[in-house]
């Protein structure tokens, strides 16, 4: 059983790693964040699988932390790389005029 779970973890790792390949080939900023988002989800899945294999319940806590903060990073991206004239944020425009 443990082998099956580990194999699943390995497959997920390979898949999300392949998802990072477009970044290497120079994709747009948004695509990069999508790859990181996928990496976060894949990381959570792998952590849950590893937790089931090793029986350490605390690994689920790590997955919980990662799940919370992957959303946080994407929000940070939307805030720090706003589309111009966006109504979502005006922070970088403000930064320029105050700098």
């Amino acid at each position: 059983m443990a082998d099956v779970l580990l194999a699943a973890a390995g497959i997920i790792l390979v898949t999300v790693a392949l998802g990072l390949v477009p970044i290497v080939r120079g994709a747009s900023a948004t695509d990069n964040i999508l790859a990181v988002q996928l990496f976060g989800t894949g990381g959570v899945a792998v952590l849950l699988l590893l937790g089931a294999v090793s029986g350490a319940e605390a690994i689920v806590d790590v997955a919980l932390t990662l799940a919370l903060l992957s959303a946080f990073v994407s929000v940070a991206f939307v805030k720090s790389y706003p589309a111009a004239s966006s109504d979502v944020t005006r922070s970088s425009a403000m930064y320029e005029c105050r700098a």
Binding site: T30, L34, Q37, L38, L49, S74, A83, A84, S86, V88
Partner: protein
């Protein structure tokens, strides 16, 4: 390329977020030691569902505004 632009790729990503992790969690819930552990697994999944939905909306909006920019 199968998914030619960012929005279609976002569409593909949310499947992995919701279904992929959901299926992994479903499989693990069946062999979880206790009810509490199973509930915790489901909580992780629900949390990612919620944050994934919010984030994909945010990114999609950001992308649309970026593309409609002259």
């Amino acid at each position: 390329m199968r998914f030619p632009d960012t929005l279609t790729r976002l569409h593909a990503l949310t499947k992995a977020d919701n279904l992929g992790l959901g299926l992994v969690v479903l499989g693990l819930v069946l062999q979880a030691g206790s009810v509490a552990a199973a509930l915790k697994l489901i909580c992780v999944w629900l949390l990612l569902l919620l944050s994934g939905a919010c984030v994909s909306q945010l990114i999609a909006r950001n992308t649309r505004e970026r593309e409609s920019r002259p």
